[in-house]
Symmetry: C2
Subunit: 336 residues, 2 copies
C-alpha cells in the first residue's frame, strides 16, 4: 500500500466511505464547487487530428483555478464538511497540485490549511501553495512518511485530512471534469485520462459511463509509474518502487482502494508512454496548440499521438489534467 | 511609406478600395470565413485581475487556425474574389503569420498561392508555409524590395495580390475578432489591441464601435516600433527606421493609408511597452494562464500589466493576436 493509497487515520478525518461515489454524488459535487471551480474550455486541433488520425477534443483543466483539475476534488471534500469540523481546519499531503487546490479551497471556505509537501517539490508549487495562504510543512520523501506527519498534525490540531485521491468526495469532485465534457460533447466514443492515484480517472469514468454507457475509458501512465497497470493485471493492489518519471503528478506508488475498484470496474485498459513521448506531447501542445501542459497533463495526449491505444477510437475526449510546470523543466523540454 | 503600408500595384490585384469597411462588411466577412476561421475562446484569470487590478477578458487568437488572427483577413480577401480572378491564384509578401494564413486560405479555396518571404525567415515559418501547399519565393531583404517581386509575379501570372493589412477586405476579416468578442461580452468598456500595420485594430475598432459605441479602444506598440504613435501625433503617416523589437509581427515601418485613417477615427490613444515588458507578459500568460503568446500576441497584455493605460478601464477585452514562437525565442524568454 502506498502512502497515497493508504486510507487516512488520525484526528478528525474525512469519512472516506466504503463505497464509491455515484453519478448523483458527482451532480451534487458540481453544484457544491461551482463558486470556486470554473468550467474549462474544450479545444480542438485540425493539425493534431490530421497528423495522428484522430478526432480529438481536449478538455483543458490546465486553465482551471490553481492550474489543474485538483480544485474540484479538494473543494468538494472541504465544502462537504459540517461547520464544526471545518473550524479546526484541514491538512493534506501532496507534492503538487492537490496542495495548491486544498489551499485555495480552504481559503475560500475561510479555514486553515496545512500542507505536507516533499522538500524537492517544484518551487512553483511550493510558492503557489504558500501564496494561497496555507502553512507548508516540508518532509524528506526518501526517509519520511508523509501520511504519518499528516496524521500527527491532524491528531494535534483536530484538523480534517483531505486525502489527494482515495476518498469518495474527492473522486466525486474530479468526476465533474467528465460531466462537463460529456454535457458539451454527448457523443464521445472514447475518453483518455492520465492515471496517478486514480482520483481523476475514477470520477471521470463514473460520470462518463452514467452519461454515455457505451463510452470506452482508457488510462495512461508513464512507463516507470505503472502501478495501476500492474495492479489491474494482477487483480490486486501492487506497490512499485518510487518512479523517476518527468510526470511529477503521476509518481504514486500504488492505486488507492477506491480508485483501484473504480478503474477495475470502468476502464478498458491502462496503457503506458515513455518520458520522451510525454515531452513530445508537451511540445506539440505548446507549439502547435499554444497551451502549456505539465508532463502529467500531456500524458493522455502522448498515448494518442504515439498510437498506444486500439484503432477506431472515434470521437475522443483527452483530459489535459494540469499546466503547472517550472521554467527549468519547460526549458529542458523545449531544448531539442 | 513602408513596404507593408504601400498600396499594392501590379497585375490583377485586389481593389483596396478608397473607403474603410463598415460593420456590414465585417458581418459579411464573418459569414464568408466561417468554413475556415474558427471561433476562439475567451479566457479569464483571477490571478491577473487581482495582481493588476483589472477585469480582463483575453480573446485567444493564438488558438486560431494558423496560430494567429491573420487567417480571418486573408480568407475574407481570397474568398471575396470572383471565380475568374481566383483561377490565377494569389500572391503576397510576408515573413510571418500572414504568409501562413494566405497559404491556408488559398488551399481551402483550391487556388495557387505564391508567398514572397525573406531568405532569413525562420525555417519553421518557411516550412509551415510550404507545408500548406504554397510556393515560396525567397528574397534578400537587405537588397531587394518584396513588393516589387510580388508585383512582378502578379504581372507575369495574373495572380491577385493579397496585402497583409492595408486592404478593406483584410481589415473587415480582422474585424471579426472584435465582433465575436463583443457578441460574447456585449458590455465591455475597453478593448486593447496590438498595432503592427494596423489591420487588426482597424477592423476591431470598426466592429466594436458599431456594437458598442461608447467603448474605448487602445492600441499598443513596442516602444521601438511606434510608427502609429508618431503618425497619429503628427497627423500624417510617418515612416520609422527598421525596428529591432522582439515582437516580430509588429515591425512595420509605417501605418497603411486605410489603417491610419481607421485608427485616427476610432482609437483613443496608442501607448508603448518595452521588450522586457513584453517578455514579462509572455511569462505571465505562459506560466499563470497556460497559454503561449508570441511577443506581438503578448503586447496588449503587457500594456495592462504595466499600467500604460488610463485608470478606470472597466471590463477590458485584450486581444492575444497570435502564438507562433520559435523554440529558441521562447527559451530566451523563459530563462530569467
Amino acid at each position: 500500500m502506498s502512502e497515497d493509497g493508504q486510507s487516512p487515520r488520525g484526528g478528525g478525518l474525512c469519512d472516506p466511505g466504503s463505497l464509491l461515489p455515484d453519478y448523483q454524488d458527482i451532480v451534487a459535487a458540481a453544484e457544491r464547487i461551482a463558486p470556486v471551480a470554473k468550467p474549462t474550455p474544450v479545444l480542438t486541433s485540425r493539425t493534431f487530428n490530421s497528423h495522428y488520425g484522430a478526432d480529438a477534443f481536449f478538455k483543458c483543466e490546465n486553465f482551471q483555478l490553481g492550474g489543474a483539475f485538483k480544485i474540484r476534488g479538494a473543494a468538494n471534500a472541504i465544502f462537504s464538511l459540517p461547520p464544526e469540523q471545518r473550524a479546526n481546519g484541514v491538512v493534506t499531503y501532496s507534492s503538487g497540485n492537490h496542495a495548491q487546490a486544498t489551499a485555495i479551497a480552504a481559503r475560500h471556505a475561510g479555514i486553515r490549511a496545512t500542507i505536507v509537501m516533499p522538500d524537492d517539490a517544484p518551487k512553483s508549487k511550493l510558492n503557489a501553495t504558500r501564496g494561497y495562504g496555507a502553512t507548508v510543512v516540508l518532509y524528506d520523501r526518501m526517509r519520511e512518511n508523509r501520511n504519518v506527519i499528516g496524521e500527527r498534525i491532524a491528531a494535534e490540531t483536530g484538523a480534517t485530512i483531505v486525502p489527494p485521491f482515495d476518498h469518495a468526495a474527492v473522486i466525486a469532485g474530479q468526476g465533474t471534469v467528465a460531466k462537463e465534457l460529456l454535457e458539451a460533447l454527448p457523443d464521445l466514443d472514447t475518453l483518455v485520462v492520465c492515471v496517478g492515484g486514480g482520483g481523476l480517472i475514477s470520477g471521470c469514468a463514473i460520470a462518463a459511463k452514467a452519461l454515455r454507457p457505451g463510452i470506452r475509458i482508457y488510462g495512461v501512465e508513464p512507463e516507470s509509474a505503472d502501478d495501476f497497470r500492474q495492479s489491474i493485471a494482477a487483480g490486486r493492489i501492487i506497490e512499485i518502487p518510487p518512479p523517476g518519471t518527468i510526470a511529477d503528478g503521476l509518481r504514486t506508488l500504488a492505486p488507492g482502494k477506491l480508485t483501484f475498484e473504480a478503474v477495475r470496474q470502468n476502464v478498458e485498459e491502462i496503457v503506458v508512454v515513455s518520458d520522451e513521448e510525454i515531452r513530445e506531447a508537451m511540445r506539440f501542445l505548446l507549439f502547435r496548440m499554444k497551451i502549456l501542459a505539465e508532463p502529467s497533463g500531456a500524458t493522455a495526449t502522448a498515448a494518442v499521438m504515439h498510437g498506444r491505444l486500439p484503432a477506431g477510437l472515434g470521437r475522443t475526449g483527452i483530459v489535459i489534467s494540469g499546466g503547472n510546470v517550472d521554467p527549468e523543466v519547460l526549458a529542458s523540454v523545449i531544448a531539442v
